[in-house]
Amino acid sequence: MKKIFIALLSIVLLSTGCDDIDFGDTDQNVNGPAEASTSALLSGAITNFSTRQGRPYRITPTLNVQYLVQLVYNQEMLYADGAGFWQSYYVQTASNCQTVIDICNDPEKATDPTVLANGAIENQKAVAMIFKSVIFKRVTDLFGDVPYTEALNSDILTPVYDDQKKVYEGMIADVKAARDMINTSAAGPTGDVIYMGDMVKWQKFANSFLVSLGMQVTKADAGMAQSTVTEALNHSAGVLEDVADDAIYTFDVANDFPNPWEWMRPADYGVSAEFISALRGDGFTSNTTYDERIQYVAADPSLDGLPYGYKTYEADNSPVAGVIYAADTRLPLLTSAYTYLQRAEAAAHGWTSEDAGAMLKMGIMNSYAKGAAVYGVEIGDGAAYADARVADMATAAGGALQVIAEEKWVDLFPLGYDAWSEWRRTDYPKLTPAADAINDGKIPRRYNYPSGEASLNPTGYDKGVAALNPGTDNNTSRFWWDK
């Protein structure tokens, strides 16, 4: 008996020196994949970016450009100055793209057959780089200086906030590199849920997106803007010119990936009187012609809508067209219509030899065609309306640039992000701040940095705030390109 006791005691005492017992695969996690799939990560990034829902992610910019009014719950419409959110852009979205890029850059992984099965490495990497820049344009256009060069890196817990100019230079360089890396004769990425691996279209997308990147910095750095735009327009691969080339995300309703607008309560929103007026040609913009695109904006185009920015309303609302809320309505991410309108602006600046009027007309007609395709409404080809708007270029107070900016505003509905970026840059359409604003009475120019940044990354946060004008973290402060 003593032997047993001594044996047991020895186990206990000796065990202090024994650091490890082999438990085999007990702790193995069988609830998901241990290995990354470049295909599923890429499509996951695109899906996550396209299906964000909730009022801060979906609605605020749509209100800032006065497409809609909020009827009951109206903090966003009245410019509540609360913290913004960027987690859904960095985490599980841009981080997905970065992981794909890292795998493609890893010589060992990049030659693994399971990775190669997801498309040619250069094409996988190119699409991931382009889409990462799409995400970062959204982030920097919302906040200003943001973590970029040191972001998405597990080794850096407090990434530096890069100057917005540096972020733009980085995105432009990345998109150019990606465009030039594309091998149109090799297989495209299987995770590409936008063009289904059509690399010719991705090259066009890259050029169109470069035009957008360049145009966005017009006020801050005209030289950088012009060189970026013209380089892309002159590139042999061309830009998006056909509605069939439009980058459109398709929702999979059957598998519970519905259009995030479906989540909105129709009773909470209406079309603004301003937007209705613009579409009817009633004087809110330089337009004087009835715009058939009103059919996918307002449920009943005969209603006048409510003026933007009041705490309570007495008059009748103009409900938003049902198609906007429909679960299967597709999401245009970047289109030929918008690209033509950018080309019109480039021409109006004198950066190209293209005819601004012709480009405007193409933009409007492609916008009509896109509307018909995405929203399934019969609105004609828009040629007559386009001609009228081309004519307006001569008479509008702000000339061609005003008409082009106003047409971008109409075209981009209901995607507030790009429309808001355009408005902040061009000041068109002319908007009046909400009468019952709860901030300091100005239309927001940005989102406040996310709560937590001040304590989690104080050095970066302080630098980002200091770069604002004025240097306070408010939604009315301006950043680099928003002069």
Binding site: I11, V12, N29, W86, S95, L157, V253, R265, S455, G460
Partner: protein, 1084 residues
């Protein structure tokens, strides 16, 4: 405790039953001096020998003793030892006197090791069944509250039934920066997460091991303390049958104070609008059946779920149920009057019936006990019920005089139905205390729960009103259904099966050596099915504000834990030294496996195709099933040695090493020691008439803790369903430190125990000081890193405090015995270091449904503080007011103070009158701690609470117009520091707290004093039963939650801080109840 002692006595005398050749036979009976009742299990031994026996069920014994035997020793735990000269007697009648405090008591400590309480070097407070189960409480956790120093109950809304509402216990406050979890419960050696796996009626005693000093041998699982539960075991000799029957009634008793002056609406008297049938409304014609309402007055905002409407004037108006031709009250009017008790009236009287029968008995070499319990509850929530059947058994068998084997098992099966949601926006408390009207008549809601509108929709009190109904063209409810109807339609059924089983064997090699082995299992099976029928979908209006789809969900979950233990024990005496040592090893396996497939309930695209057919082939969109499983194994080795010198000084040391499969490969083992000592100084004092017993004790201990399974082996998350046929993959949100290691708590504890006046009074005092370093913490990171957190070792926290237990018997006569026990505990956890330069981090405890407050650790501050916006004050403490609007200026991120109380405690009294009547009562209390009430905020916002219709300093109702002297009187300073004195209209005043998320008026002090349990038990005199089978009978009357004696002054609505459903406070919780009941107990 007594039964443990019996069991131990059996073990001790096992080897001594062999008859001696030259003997005489001694017989006799042993009774209690207190009540003359026979005492089974008393050890009877011949002094100076190892010969002995124990008494049978009737207190009788028969012992063959050597002819030269001189003295018999009678001993029994809890009784004074008595020695009787044998002389020529062969028959003995011995009456044992109670040893009130029981210093020789044996308690079950970590790993089931029985120890004499006096030798322990740490505080261990044991509570016996009669103190625990005063009022027939079905919840073992809440029955512990108030009886053990330093134990607090959290998260227990009393109105919840079954496993849903058992809350959790908090021992010595908290210390972990990331967790505020339940202690480990151990039932007869089987670790479980819920002590209610056994029925309270089967519980013999509970021993609470509070800190690392007591729990070191349990190791990693014991970081929040251990509650050891010992169940009843059989007595040797004869067969005893016990029947228990309990019936309890629960009535809703504690609700906020409501106003009864104003009814439904947003806009006061302006709400009254006359219906002009011919004119229609907003260009739309009224339905034909409403022509009879022409010229009648209606509340314009008929859909309002707030009570800012017109004052009750006793005049006629047309209520919701008069609108629909199918109603028996169609076209009728009623008076515009308050329904003061409408919310209270909603709830049913809860009924709990528990019946149990147990049979126990044994012979010379076996004992067995079997019990069957049936519990049947109907909750206060309409349509709610809980049923549970438990069978438990404990059998021990002496195979030889050296080998004993035994088996314990406990099998229970329960069924729970009902909706007990207690968060914002649920259909009962989440609406009654946030969105409701003071004029709604509950009896009509109940009577007309199946009423339909003209077009056949569910008719709700919250319909849009005649005007908006016509405008929107809808007959459906705006936000809310009739709650009776909803609870009738919605089903949520949960079935649980739990099996605890243990087989054990002890082999005694000789009086010094024995080996014990056991294997146990804890198997838990959970099944849930819920359904939302088509009727609810049809009654919802997704285009407006009420989105529901029909659907259902199923969950299947299996959890199993197995433990295999082997332990060698050695005991011996060497002169003045006693040695008691143990070495052992444990192998533990845990398995978890869950399968579930739930449909959403707020989707506009999902739903059932064929109405009310709850199969997965009948869903509009495919439903993705979700599986989740894990496994964990832990191997442990431990040793313990205790050395005693002259029964006066004891030194105790333990060491334990754990290897966990959840820790990094290559370094998954870690160990931790403890050492303690006790000194019984009264051994040095001859005169024990005043100080009968005194002990000093001190100890130092470490306890480690590891990770949950799979934390190091992350997988890439996938979307919950495939997109276009392919799963979507995402990067992980948490980065994990590959060098993560177990963290250690280091604890010091010292104290003393003393007994006075022949053990009539006792005191036990403990001071503890515990430090926790390098805890495994998910550090929140800037999400720009691509992750949201980093799991690593970081931080430091500390707690210290005292525990004090006083007990005594102030009166002890033949007619009256009064026992009292008082306990008191403090704990002061502070946060000394936080990871990565953080000055604050989220604490366990979360945030309310509207994010008004959050539980946050402040560096160098108290553990777990409520943090939120507050009304700004100037240096003199005046409120700062925005002069332009008249509303309060506010500051963000204000620390309101810790959610943990400064101290907790309880008082237990027991009066026994003429040995026939016992009156017991327990009071518990706590001082300090903060909580937030979301209900109070919303019911202020919606004009429901009394303060929304109070009088101001002008004697006018605050709802009156400011120009008429009404409005809320606001004083303070403006933002420039000038004095401010003004009035603000009541709606704006109460709305500002929600609009600006200012928590100040709704954060309260959580102090309380409460009479928790009362019982009056009458033991029927034995002589009444002399001619029947019945051995004893008693009848008891019980009450629970009868009296909230006091709450803090700022807790104006009297929320019960001991029954808050969340750590941060109240989140639309279920109301408090008072319970009354009776029980009958018979033994045969």
């Amino acid at each position: 405790m007594k039964k443990i002692a019996i069991f131990l006595s059996i073990l001790l005398f096992m080897g001594n039953l062999v008859a001696n050749a030259q003997t005489k036979t001694l017989t006799g009976t042993v009774t209690s001096a207190e009540d003359d009742a026979p005492i089974p299990g008393v050890s009877v031994s011949v002094k100076g020998t190892t010969l002995g026996t124990i008494t049978n069920l009737d207190g009788g014994f028969e012992l063959k003793a050597p002819d030269d035997a001189k003295t018999l020793v009678f001993s029994f735990i809890g009784m004074k030892v008595q020695e009787v000269e044998i002389g020529s007697q062969t028959s003995f009648a011995v009456a044992l006197e109670s040893d009130m405090i029981g210093i020789d008591e044996v308690v079950v400590t970590a790993l089931g090791i029985s120890r004499e309480k006096k030798t322990l070097s740490y505080a261990a407070q044991d509570v016996k069944a009669e103190q625990l189960d005063i009022s027939g409480n079905a919840n073992i956790k809440s029955s512990i509250v108030g009886k053990v120093a330093g134990v607090q109950m959290v998260g227990q809304p009393g109105a919840k039934l079954g496993e849903n509402g058992t809350g959790r216990l908090r021992i010595r406050g908290a210390i972990s920066l990331t967790s505020d979890a339940d202690p480990l419960y151990v039932i007869d050696g089987i670790p479980v997460d819920d002590p209610n796996a056994v029925d309270m009626g089967d519980v013999e005693s509970v021993n609470v091991l509070k800190g690392p000093n007591a729990t070191a041998l349990y190791g990693q699982r014991a970081e929040y303390g251990v509650i050891m539960i010992t169940t009843k075991k059989a007595k040797q000799g004869g067969i005893s049958v016990e029947i228990n029957s309990n019936t309890t009634f629960d009535k809703v008793a504690y609700l906020p104070e409501y106003q009864d002056l104003y009814g439904q609406g947003y806009d006061g008297e302006d709400e009254w609008t006359t219906l002009n049938y011919d004119a229609g409304f907003a260009g739309r014609a009224y339905p034909e059946e409403w022509s009879i309402f022409d010229g009648r007055r209606f509340v314009y905002s008929g859909y309002a779920d707030e009570s800012w409407g017109p004052a009750f004037d006793g005049e006629d108006y047309t209520p919701w149920y008069a609108m629909w031709p199918e109603s028996p009250y169609y076209g009728e009017t009623r008076k515009w009057e308050a329904q003061p008790d409408n919310i209270k009236d909603f709830y049913d009287t809860g009924v709990t019936m528990k019946n149990s029968i147990s049979i126990s008995g044994g012979g010379e070499d076996f004992t067995g006990r079997l019990s069957v319990t049936n519990l049947n509850q109907n909750g206060i929530m309409p349509e709610s019920e809980y049923k549970k059947n438990t069978i438990s058994g404990a059998f021990d068998f002496d195979v030889t005089d050296k080998l004993q084997v035994g088996v314990n098992f406990n099998f229970s099966k329960s069924f729970l139905q009902g909706d007990f949601a207690d968060g914002y926006s649920n259909q009962t408390t989440g609406s009654f205390n946030s969105w409701f009207a003071r004029d709604v008549d509950m009896s009509k809601l109940k009577e007309l729960k199946n009423l339909q509108t003209t077009s056949g929709y569910h008719a709700s009190w919250n319909y849009w009103g005649p005007f908006y109904s016509t405008y929107f063209g809808t007959e459906k409810g705006a936000f809310w259904f009739n709650p009776y109807w909803y609870l009738q339609e919605y089903r949520n059924e949960r079935d649980r099966i739990r099996l605890l089983a243990d087989v054990h064997a002890t082999y005694n090699f000789n009086e010094n050596w024995n080996v014990k082995v056991n294997a146990s299992t804890n198997l838990y099976n959970y099944k849930q099915f819920w359904k939302v029928p088509y009727s609810i979908e049809a009654a919802s209006d997704p285009h407006l504000y009420n989105t529901w789809n029909s659907g259902f969900g199923n969950t299947r979950q299996m959890e199993m834990e197995n433990n295999y233990n082997a332990m060698v024990n050695y005991q011996n005496e060497f002169g003045d030294f006693d040695i008691d040592a143990t070495a052992g090893t444990t192998y533990r396996t845990n398995e978890y496996d869950r399968f579930r497939a739930n449909m959403p309930t707020d989707s506009k695209t999902q739903g059932l195709v064929l109405p009310d057919v709850y199969t997965y082939s009948n869903t509009k969109l495919p439903v993705t099933a979700e599986t989740y499983k894990w496994e964990k194994k832990v191997v442990s080795a431990y040793a313990r040695a205790s050395v005693g010198w002259r029964d006066m000084v004891f030194v105790d040391a333990t060491y334990r090493q754990d290897w966990s499969s959840a820790l990094p490969e290559g370094k998954n083992g870690y160990g931790y020691p403890s050492i303690g000592s006790s000194f019984i100084f009264t051994e040095l004092i001859d005169d024990d008439s005043i100080l009968s017993f005194g002990k000093l004790r001190a100890g130092w201990a470490q306890v480690g803790n590891d990770l949950a399974a799979m934390r190091l082996n992350q997988v890439y998350p996938l979307s919950s369903s495939p997109y276009m046929g392919s799963p979507q993959m995402y990067t992980n949100t948490q980065m994990v430190d590959p060098n993560i290691k177990p963290s250690l708590n280091t604890s010091m504890e010292f104290g003393f125990d003393a007994k006075f006046l022949n053990n009539r009074a006792g005191i036990s005092f403990t001071y503890f000081n515990e430090v926790r370093e390098d805890e495994i913490i998910p550090i929140t990171m800037s999400s720009a890193t691509g992750n949201t957190s980093f799991l690593t070792n970081a931080g430091k926290s500390k707690r210290d405090g005292i525990e004090l237990v006083l007990d005594g018997t102030p009166v002890q006569t033949d007619d009256l015995v009064w026992n009292i026990s008082v306990n008191f505990g403090t704990s002061n956890p502070v946060v000394e270091e936080l990871p990565g330069g953080l000055t604050s981090m989220n604490a366990p405890g979360g945030t309310d449904d509207w994010g008004n407050v959050r539980v946050v650790h402040e560096l160098d501050g108290d553990w777990g503080q409520l943090r939120g916006r507050t009304i700004r004050t100037d240096d003199n403490g005046n409120y700062v007011i925005n002069a332009a609007t008249g509303t309060y200026a506010y500051d963000t991120d204000h620390y309101y103070g810790s959610i943990l109380p400064d101290f907790t405690g309880g008082i237990y009294n027991s009066l026994t009158i003429k040995k026939l009547v016992n009156i017991s009562a327990s009071i518990d209390f706590q001082k300090g701690g903060k909580f937030f009430s979301l209900s109070e905020m919303w019911s202020g916002y919606s004009g429901l609470t009394a303060e929304t219709a109070a009088l101001n300093n002008n004697g006018k109702n605050i709802r009156d117009a400011i120009e008429d002297g009404g409005g809320v009187h606001i004083t303070g300073v403006d933002t420039d520091g000038n004095p401010y004195d003004g009035y603000l209209d009541a709606v704006t005043y109460f709305a500002q707290f929600q609009d600006n998320a200012i928590a100040t008026p709704y954060v309260h002090d959580a102090s309380y004093i409460k009479l928790r349990d009362v019982s009056v038990t009458v033991n029927l005199p034995r002589k009444w039963m002399s001619n029947v089978f019945i051995n004893s009978a008693s009848v008891g009357f019980v009450g629970r939650n009868l009296w909230m004696i006091a709450v803090a002054d700022d807790n104006v609505h009297g929320w019960d801080p001991s029954e808050l459903s969340e750590a941060y406070g109240e989140n639309a919780g279920l109301p408090g109840t008072r319970s009354y009941g009776f029980n009958v107990k018979l033994t045969f």
